[in-house]
Symmetry: C2
Subunit: 386 residues, 2 copies
Amino acid sequence: MENFVFHNPTRIIFGKDSQQQVGRELKGYRKVLLHYGTGSIKRCGLYDQVVNSLQEAGIEWVELGGAKPNPLLSLVYEGIRLCRENGVELVLAVGGGSTIDSAKAIALGACYTGDVWDFYTEKAKPAAALPVGVILTIAAAGSESSDSSVLTREEGLLKRPCSSSLVFPKFAILNPELTYTLPSYQTACGIADICAHILERYFTRSPNVDLTDRLCEASLKTLIAFAPRVMAAPADYEARAEIMWTGAIAHNNLLGTGRTADWGSHMIEHEMSGIYDVAHGAGLAVVFPAWMKYVYREDIQRFVQYAVRVWGVDYSFGEPERIALEGIARTKEFFSSIGLPVSLKEMNISGDRLEEMAQKATKDGSLGNFKKLDQADVLNILKLAS
Amino acid sequence: MENFVFHNPTRIIFGKDSQQQVGRELKGYRKVLLHYGTGSIKRCGLYDQVVNSLQEAGIEWVELGGAKPNPLLSLVYEGIRLCRENGVELVLAVGGGSTIDSAKAIALGACYTGDVWDFYTEKAKPAAALPVGVILTIAAAGSESSDSSVLTREEGLLKRPCSSSLVFPKFAILNPELTYTLPSYQTACGIADICAHILERYFTRSPNVDLTDRLCEASLKTLIAFAPRVMAAPADYEARAEIMWTGAIAHNNLLGTGRTADWGSHMIEHEMSGIYDVAHGAGLAVVFPAWMKYVYREDIQRFVQYAVRVWGVDYSFGEPERIALEGIARTKEFFSSIGLPVSLKEMNISGDRLEEMAQKATKDGSLGNFKKLDQADVLNILKLAS
């Protein structure tokens, strides 16, 4: 087990009607930026509930809608301007990972005199941020209790991550009911994203990580058990609740303690969704099985454990190759069974920009840790994903 | 799944040599109370390392040793006096659960004009506390990242818990190496305590708690796998590390989210160790299997799941009773296999004060939630434990 620091100060308020508490959670703040997406929170009535709760608590707000999947730097600049002009004290994100990531970037930028993009290119390190609060509307990104944010700069379609303990949300309100009305494709993409957050941590070369292995497996098994239930019955509270809580735990970094995670598949997918604007979760469903096939021989016994413990593949000591591949095949079938694409072709991505993606993904050096991937490796994985 | 709030702000610094960082973690504080136990930290050199780190960081301290298993109110009063007289800003506990619980009580009392015991009898609710820092020397109580503290008042031998988010340690330094020199009986008692913290949460009547069930099972399986290793080889770093991290997770309340925990066995054990001054973990090893035998029929399928998933008992649909009892028997064998008593007799506790314990345990009402236990139930459990 590797030495580690684990710290997750986000206060989770989980359950039915929990969004009604937002005003109470914001006690002590005078003015917030209410940040949301492209309007679904207005259609489903959530916007009114939030605004009522703010009014009751005597909290003023300014608004910024328009956060989209793969959140854009231009909107972040707009949010920073609003915060400065209005003396905003906290950024309240009401939405999914994109809105939260956008809110985190705004919170960082509002306290920085330079260009907030500096934090995403590692030109500068954040020293201060406004606090962020969250009302989550999709179980997926885990940004509701993570210290990270991913942003896309339109110029050059660059999608880059930034991590800082300053952007752990102060609180995150998780009501599974708010996810009932999601289109089923978005639900499925969220499940793939959660799954990928666990798998990125699970596939490690760090030895002696039994507890976190088992915690990862527990989380994956829950996801696999409840995914078909929410796909079949979108208003199944208990299934939505299991998936929503798994989504937060998958990315609050408990599952990464004491081990070096991989993150190669995420980096490859970022290039894909940076160029093609595909849903992050769908991109991961395409990349991850291909990555697995490309790397499993690096530590076949870990893939055997994965197949046996997560997918219940019958253990047989003489057949590690077959068992490892069976685990990979089941992963792919799982994504497919919930309606996700599992190849570039199924996403209508032709092969003509694979080299560009491979080049962009590796321009700052190799990717991943389970196996260090250079440009040729990434190209091979993209070809396997074709 | 029940609505819940989950919040655990303790910063965990885990790994080899991590105690050397204590001075750095205390940056910004001028004076701390260094609180420890009966001297083992001096014998093993930890005291010198801590004091050196404080000196290097320019932090002054006053000292209070003498914290004992089942920490005493009288020592807490002494600590409160020291804090007040010396302008102490933080209480640094170097030790196990007893020292940490004692430190938490001191931290609460130092900010309260009344008697700190009021918080343990629910006469008053804490409104402020000094921050607490921890260097952990035994994997057991989980107090290093919990919001609770248990204290014993000498008068009447009353052992009572107090919970307040104010006493979550600000940081907890966990170095598995510091546990190498523990007597093997204390190591085993710690393992039983960790196990009990998980079982108290696992045995719930709350439906639809699949993720937390699986996380509990993952933690229990890790404990069961590594307990024999640390008993056989006390300086096995990896095994000590697995158990130490499991110990923190077992009681940081992640495993209790969305479910009502039981805590009946803990309450019964508190009366036992209040009177007899037995190690808490040993008391739990005696009480828990007896409690299980007494209550399993309340929800036999949960006990079947426990036996099958945790202990690998072969599932057979027609025999729930046999399977449930097999899981209970294995639990008892496990405690016995690591050198713990599993009956009152083995702890040299005769039957003559069982009624007194049952009466004291239930004087404020029934105990537990899996099955509500009245005085007669507690007496029956104590008799089963005889």
